[in-house]
Amino acid sequence: MPPTPRQLAICKAALFAACLWPLAQLVWLGWSDGLGANPIEFITRHLGTWTLNFLLITLAVTPLRHLSGWHWLIRLRRMLGLYVFFYALLHFLTYLWLDQFFDWMSIVKDIAKRPFITAGFTAFLLLIPLAATSNATMLKRLGGRRWTQLHRSVYAIAIIGVVHYWWLVKKDITLPLLYAVLLGALLGWRALRLAREQQRQLRAAIYENG
């Protein structure tokens, strides 16, 4: 039973507010002296973690839609995707502003020489065209096929994002590994479905021709 337009609007508004929770947490912790001894590190990590979280949540929409039959979930995906960009942008600005304080020399050096920063920066750059083409006008202008092709780059972005996290940690790779496994499941589900679909088409073709 798909929701009525009114229910969907409420759903969207609630999701919009819920997605601001990680940001609200930072404001609250900042207010209540809860950011720890190294607040800039805390803020950077928190925003980075939530960028990855939203990326995985966004990638979970399609599998969830198919498994549950709730096809209206697709109507929420753009907002989730834009929140990925929102938190990635905040994460990047935190690095640029709070961490490096616009020291362009050392930023350029970091991006060129530090693999984990190269990866993070690449993922951020690749997100920009997706955010820029997220509205209906751009979808129309690009045409559905090309738009879909462009937005498939999110798979690569997600992989680069997890690699960015993996390369950053010193020794304990438990959390990056968890993200890698979850991403593997989300992408694996798609690969499996694609393979099955191709097989079905092949069989259909053989049936028709035979």
Partner: protein
């Protein structure tokens, strides 16, 4: 607007400059607070001098005049991998379970008089001093810490090293029930660190037994830890149970785990990058702007002669 720090502070000028810069830092921090709001105010030092167990501490000419970090920052932002690799707050949350009494330290290897000393006896080896030192972590942050301790040289004299002794290894306690980190496969335990004998005998090198005039909190390496202020923090082993004199460099834990990232010397050096990040700057905990990292953590005039003629890029 970008306020630049002077980049070349001669360490010998540190005394008058430190005061002067402390003032600048305060102004800058205050400016930053106004600019960036309450979120960052959280990071400003809370200057609360605790008075505790150790009284009549000698002041030391080796102390820096910079303002120490707050007790809270020093005791809640730690690396002590026996209590986990997963975050700076883990040691403070978990180290309380470690038993630090009774405590003995075995001193062995190439010495005339190997012995096992109880912590009570160690405390009597030399008058305790307050040593306010900079600490620079290999991860790119730094603090100023008011340790209580005594020169390691005084302890070494007690055991009379043989002529063949060239290195000293420091081995950290293993208490599996209290230390979940021991079960993780990332580095070899017991945590082992080491110095060349001349580094160990240097007057800046201390065994610390206290912090802010009181006994060391467990997460800072109670009851006894090494402090070598011109080296990255991981060289300064915590909760030491064994000190071993050898003729060859001891195999040290981080060096075994990642030799390209953690050298045996690990002298603070802005010119040698960690493979994953630059070491040119550091964030002093409590400050907004990064500082330039100084060679040998600002102690170059005292320790650079130890490395005369050595290629510090190779011997990182």
């Amino acid at each position: 607007m970008l306020i630049r720090r002077p980049n070349d502070i001669a360490p010998s000028e540190i005394t008058p400059r430190a005061l002067f810069e402390g003032r600048r830092d305060f102004i800058r921090s205050a400016g930053a607070t106004v600019l960036f709001g309450a979120a960052l105010a959280a990071g400003l030092p809370h200057r609360t001098w605790a008075s505790g167990k150790f009284t009549d501490l000698q002041k030391s000419p080796y102390s820096v005049l910079e303002t120490p970090n707050s007790f809270r920052d020093i005791t809640t932002y730690n690396n002590f991998v026996e209590f986990g690799f997963g975050g700076k707050s883990q040691p403070a949350e978990r180290a309380g379970a470690m038993k630090t009494h009774p405590w003995t330290v075995g001193i062995e290897g190439l010495v005339q008089k190997p012995r096992t000393l109880a912590i009570e006896d160690i405390l009597k080896i030399a008058p305790l001093e307050e040593r306010i030192y900079r600490l620079r972590c290999v991860e790119g942050w730094s603090m100023v810490i008011p340790w209580v301790g005594f020169p390691l040289a005084a302890l070494i004299r007690q055991v009379e090293p043989l002529g063949s002794a060239r290195y000293v290894g420091f081995i950290t306690q293993m208490e599996p029930a209290a230390m979940p980190g021991l079960r993780l496969p990332y580095i070899d335990f017991p945590y082992t660190e080491g110095l060349r004998l001349d580094e160990a005998l240097h007057p800046l090198t201390i065994m610390a037994v206290g912090l802010y005039g009181d006994v060391l909190p467990n997460q800072n390496g109670a009851p006894l830890r090494l402090v070598v202020p011109w080296k990255y923090g991981f060289k300064s082993g915590k909760s030491i149970v064994k000190i071993r004199f050898t003729d060859k460099p001891p195999r040290t834990s981080w060096n075994i785990a990642q030799p390209d990232e953690y050298g045996f010397y690990a002298n603070v050096n802005p010119d040698v990058s960690h493979p994953r990040w630059s070491q040119e700057k550091e964030r002093r905990i409590g400050e907004f702007f990064k500082r330039k990292t100084l060679p040998f953590n600002g102690y170059a005039d005292l320790v650079a002669p130890l490395y005369a003629g050595m290629d510090l890029r190779k011997n990182y």
